[in-house]
Amino acid sequence: MTAALIGFAAIFLLALLRVPLAFAMGLVGFAGIGLTRGWQPALASTAQVVHETGFAYTLSVIPLFILMGNFVARAGLAHELFAAAYAFIGHLRGGLAHATVAACAGFGAICGSSIATAATMSKVAYPSMRKLGYSDALSTGVMAAGGTLGIMIPPSTIMVIYGIVTETSIGKLFAAGVIPGLLTAGMLMLAIVVVTSRDPEHAPPGERTSWPQRWHALRGIWGVLVLVFIVLGGIYGGFFTATEGAGFGAAGAFLFALLRRKLTWRGLYEVLVESARTTAMLFALLIAATLFANFVNFTTLPGDLKNAITQAGLSPTMVVVAMMAIYVVLGTVMEELTMVLLTIPLFFPIVTSLGFDPVWFGVLIVMIVQIGLISPPVGMNLFVLNALLPGVGLSQIFRGCWPFVLVMVVMLGVLIAFPQLSLWLPSLMK
């Protein structure tokens, strides 16, 4: 057990030194195996992990979903989504904020990245909110929180990673995210209602749109709907594997951007290279995390932890609640992807041995990541908005996000209390 704890400590030390986490985890994993089992096995297992992670057909699902999201973002589709949402709910108090959440949910159905969703909204929704006099705190809070819907509503990069690391069905995880994602969107809108009722001046309603105009606005988004229907419907219906669906979706999004004449040769090249870079970054982390997990699994730590929990006599649900509490706290200061990759080798075996469904735990993990992404002081979505909107200070963004952090913590509790919310849809799958 001491060996693994020293390993964790070493990673944190290296991370504090600002060593990229992929190298920190990989190096510690390698050294750990080397010191406990010998250097030849360490070299062999490193070569094997790199080779196996590199040459893996199923893992091509990662770049393909990233590519799909990037093509759709490039096609400028978020504008139409926002316009359509605005046409229907823009006349309510705080209507632009509601429309932003709805557009985020729609965008999340094609894009698997929370940060990309928030970044896209900062270009699409922020200018309109600013024009109508929305306070910066409210508008950035809504965009940051709405952006996180990108990873709960399928497709979702973090679900794919969780699925790969824990060998859980990605298709089932995707299905499990639908209801929690939509519920979270509803909760965010509820929070907007509460926030704007206390400060109506900073969230004036927009103009009412007539029904013919509404139908017209819907026509702008039928392409996305078709794409989402084919890709996600295909995966749920068992017509596609997740990888096939991702490939189909990426190609569809490519054709879509092409037909809308939004794609130049240069643009195509940029989208491809950007997606490839994200892929390389993720795989560096994935390889390093696998290596580190191999080391941890050879130590007694996972077993010791399991025994300690059994002996403490906590009820299974209490164990999960305790884990989630640890995650929420860790998530305020840690980068979420690393947090998940580092803790899964310890937590996942406990959760499954307590008899919980790995799909359900996956949804909880996604919710945790969502919360972590918007909880100060270290929340990537907040930083991204701060970087993209130079006129808005970080302190205002921090102020605006609190109500939504609270709502999401409540949502996490709901998901723990009612596993059916996550598990009903996947149970319908073959």
Partner: protein
């Protein structure tokens, strides 16, 4: 040199990624609607994945896009940050050069055993050599970063979550 690296790695990974997309698309179309898949498409995807990942790795390092814990940056004096940069880049450079050597060595073993893919019988060794070379190249990128600041990163680009 930098432009050459960008272009080489960029084109390599971009073409490979586009190929994976096209391959998967036509394979699925063929299989589902014409009962006729592309032979060996799975293997080709696997080989191309290696090209995408390791082709783009030097670019990730050059642009400083790896996930790092950088929240302390504003509070650290300048000299600490220069020292940090030195230590980190030397460490990453050494790790990647070593990994490059390891993958090259593994490639040698594959070549000796004559390992090929199952269906199309494409030799795997060249791809492992390629992994090794690109890892080493990434290591050199880190060593080159010792001499100058990395370019400021645009937040949100290359982000995974």
């Amino acid at each position: 040199m930098n432009k050459f690296l960008d272009l080489l790695c960029g084109l390599l990974s971009a073409l490979a990624l586009f190929a994976i997309m096209a391959l998967t698309f036509f394979d699925v179309l063929g299989r589902k609607f014409a009962a006729h898949s592309i032979p060996g498409s799975l293997e080709m995807t696997e080989l191309l994945m290696v090209v995408v990942i390791f082709g783009a790795l030097p670019l990730v390092s050059r642009r400083g896009e790896h996930v790092e814990f950088d929240s302390l940056d504003p509070y650290l004096p300048r000299w600490v940050r220069s020292a940090q940069r030195l230590v980190v880049n030397v460490l990453c450079g050494v790790v990647l050069l070593a990994l490059g050597w390891l993958m090259w060595r593994t490639g040698g073993q594959f070549a000796e055993n004559g390992e090929t893919t199952a269906q199309l019988r494409i030799p795997k060794a060249p791809f492992l050599y390629g992994m090794g070379v690109l890892c080493a190249l990434t290591g050199l990128v880190h060593l080159a970063l010792l001499r100058r600041r990395p370019p400021e990163r645009v937040e949100g680009e290359g982000a995974a979550l």
